[in-house]
């Protein structure tokens, strides 16, 4: 438990509770279990995406193409469903993971084999993937009437009192947690983030590890592509436009260091939840939704100022410590 809830995660959890408590003071119904579960369900997609982005950021990279990947995969799956309603939904979900992984692998291969900086690669694929959504759809929408009932209803079903969408988030988070803490690949993400040179000397293939992180981010983006489309029941070019930065924001608020090597599954989940709680609280306390963007901007800045204090001893000073200790 102490590993799961380090101080940073604890403070963030307290911050979320404080927001909930403040809103509850004036609107008691806000903190009823049903409403909290709704907020969790609303935030599920962001939580999953934050998991993928965290893996990439841990390796000192960044994936700005996740939202475009989501839109492209979502559009492909929706068009398949519209054209062939008979295709079973589990197959479509598996397909969305495969397509998303392939798009992520495209990013990864450019980073791995050509050594192009990740921000440049994903800046390019950000526009390419979204452009492709337009190309394959011809700019048209796939709307609720064209989707099959199974396609729309699957995530709305309930299991043990929780919507299936929430279960997706829980399972993905659990898998990523196991990957990060119990497998060599997961530890490699941290190792190359903290010190790529040292990682090479311990036998880690830095390029391939980054590639795997991009494939993971792509797989999650693809899965979320299906979930997003079936949740909002519309597939269009604009789906999740600009969402890539919200995903990064969730990670940053959750204490994932943009310099790599620092970050936990719990932190990224809480970062996403914080944004979800704030976004859900605004309409309740009667603040115009137009405040959302400024508030999440301020939250990122506050989070990074607080994180910056605890990361101050990074970089060259750590080297000195290591040398002094040796």
């Amino acid at each position: 438990m102490t590993r799961l809830f380090k101080t940073r995660e604890l403070w963030l959890a307290l911050g979320i509770l404080a927001v909930i408590a403040l809103v509850t003071l004036r609107f008691p119904r806000f903190s009823q279990p049903g409403n909290l579960l709704t907020i969790f369900n609303d935030t599920s997609i962001l939580m999953m995406l934050a998991m993928g982005q965290m893996a990439v950021i841990l390796t000192r990279s960044i994936d700005l193409s996740m939202a475009s990947n989501l839109a492209l995969t979502g559009m492909i799956v929706a068009m398949i469903n519209a054209a062939a309603p008979g295709v079973p939904i589990p197959l479509l979900i598996a397909g969305s993971v495969v397509i998303g992984s392939a798009l992520g692998a495209f990013n990864g291969i450019l980073v791995w084999k050509l050594d192009i900086p990740p921000i440049v690669v994903t800046l390019g694929t950000l526009t390419i993937f979204r452009g492709l959504v337009f190309v394959i759809s011809g700019g048209a929408w796939v709307n609720a009437a064209q989707m099959s009932q199974d396609f729309i209803q699957l995530q709305r079903g309930s299991f043990l009192g929780l919507p299936i969408l929430s279960w997706f988030a829980i399972v993905v988070a659990a898998l990523v947690y196991l990957l990060m803490t119990r497998t060599a690949a997961g530890r490699a993400f941290y190792a190359i983030g903290v010190n790529p040179t040292a990682a090479v000397y311990t036998g880690i293939n830095v390029g391939r590890t980054k590639f795997l992180a991009f494939v993971l981010a792509g797989a999650i983006s693809g899965l979320c592509g299906y979930l997003w489309i079936s949740r909002y029941v519309i597939a269009s070019v604009e789906v999740a436009g600009g969402y890539e930065l919200t995903i990064v924001a969730a990670c940053v608020i959750g204490g994932v260091s943009i310099a790599g090597g620092i970050g936990t599954v719990a932190g990224a989940l809480l970062g996403a939840l914080f944004l979800g709680v704030v976004n859900n609280a605004l309409p309740v306390i009667g603040v115009s939704p137009f405040w959302q963007m400024a508030i999440s901007g301020a939250a990122i800045l506050i989070a990074v100022v607080l994180n910056g204090r605890s990361e101050r001893t990074k970089g060259r000073i750590i080297l000195k410590k290591a040398e002094a200790g040796a």
Binding site: D115, I119, G124, G131, T197, A249, I258, A294, S296
Partner: protein, 333 residues
């Protein structure tokens, strides 16, 4: 940007042949690409080779390119500023507020540029004063600045800018040469001199190559970075004046996506995203290329979103090709 492996530097026993290195430089490649696109455009559309068409073409890139000039310097020092488009939104919104309060053209321009500098100074303070990574800071201020514009405007817009103000975005200095183009060319010359022919410029490169070494050599790293963020704010403020004047209205979604296009111009222009190298000539050529591509495709009735595929592919291909070429040569050797 690819020489990241920590192999010791080899000192050459003679300087490179200046003619050979000029021919093989990134800039010559960009000129070739620009020429190829120019020729392809003139074959593809009969409307392309016309002085007014070409003049219209420049409006496609001038505002973004103004920002890219300053962004190039920021990226050369190893930082980045993703908040530029949001600075445009905030500056434009406050210009709109000033207009409502009865301000006339000189005050509007002053407000736009002033807000830009203040936003840049805020970024600069967070990055240099609090020692925070610029990519996170500017992702935060990107939401914050545009968020304030949304709070002020919501789903409304400001309209009714005076004609004397519109001239900045729509006026021509003489014949087909627009004010925007003249301003961009003047700024390009200023930035060229600043980066390549002043102490300040050398310090910018020094910081990008090794900030610690630069600090020990007496370069005021933080002060220079702070100035560069203010400069980027200033250029964004200027772009806000031009864009607002050209569109004649302010919406909170103004200039959406400009930050990525400005970064694309800078990287396409041969500036290393990791800092330490790059030229203003390259950035100007990259801006021209992006203007040519979008305008040429526009003449062919290609939708804007499909153009973005070309821009994205151009970015990756132009960076990947020299790397592939070098790998191929190494394999042969």
């Amino acid at each position: 940007m690819t020489d990241q492996t920590a192999t010791g530097r080899q000192l050459p026993d003679r300087l490179d042949n200046p003619v050979k290195s000029a021919v093989l430089s990134w800039e010559s490649l960009l000129i070739l690409v620009a020429l190829a696109i120019f020729i392809a455009n003139s074959f593809a559309s009969p409307y392309f080779l016309n002085e007014w068409s070409l003049s219209d073409m420049t409006f496609n890139f001038t505002e973004k390119a103004l920002i890219a000039l300053a962004m190039a310097l920021v990226i050369i020092t190893g930082e980045i500023d993703l908040s530029v488009a949001s600075i445009i939104a905030l500056a434009s919104t406050l210009m709109g507020l000033a207009l409502q309060a009865g301000a006339d053209t000189p005050v509007l321009v002053g407000v736009g540029i002033g807000v830009g500098i203040l936003c840049g100074a805020f970024n600069g303070f967070l990055v240099t004063g609090l020692k925070l990574p610029s990519i996170v800071v500017t992702i935060g201020t990107m939401s914050l600045f545009r968020g304030v514009a949304y709070i002020v405007l919501g789903d409304q817009s400001f309209k009714g800018y005076p004609a004397s103000f519109s001239w900045f975005g729509q006026g021509y200095v003489f014949w087909v040469i627009s004010f925007e183009l003249v301003l961009f060319l003047v700024c390009a010359v200023i930035f060229y001199v600043l980066l390549h022919h002043t102490n300040f410029g050398r310090r910018v490169f020094a910081i990008g190559n090794n900030a610690t070494a630069a600090r020990f050599s007496g370069v005021r790293v933080d002060r220079i970075k702070f100035v560069l963020f203010c400069l980027t704010g200033l250029m964004s403020g200027m772009a806000a004046v031009l864009l607002t004047a050209r569109l004649g209205s302010t919406r909170p979604s103004i200039a959406q996506g400009f930050e990525l296009e400005a970064v694309t111009m800078v990287v396409l222009g041969g500036v290393s995203i990791l800092g330490g190298s790059g030229t203003i000539v390259g950035v100007v050529l990259a801006a021209l290329i992006m203007g040519l591509v979008t305008f040429g495709l526009g003449l062919l009735n290609v939708p804007g979103i499909v153009m973005s595929i070309f821009i994205g592919a151009l970015l990756i291909v132009v960076i990947a090709l020299p790397i592939l070429f070098r790998m191929w040569r190494q394999r042969k050797a």
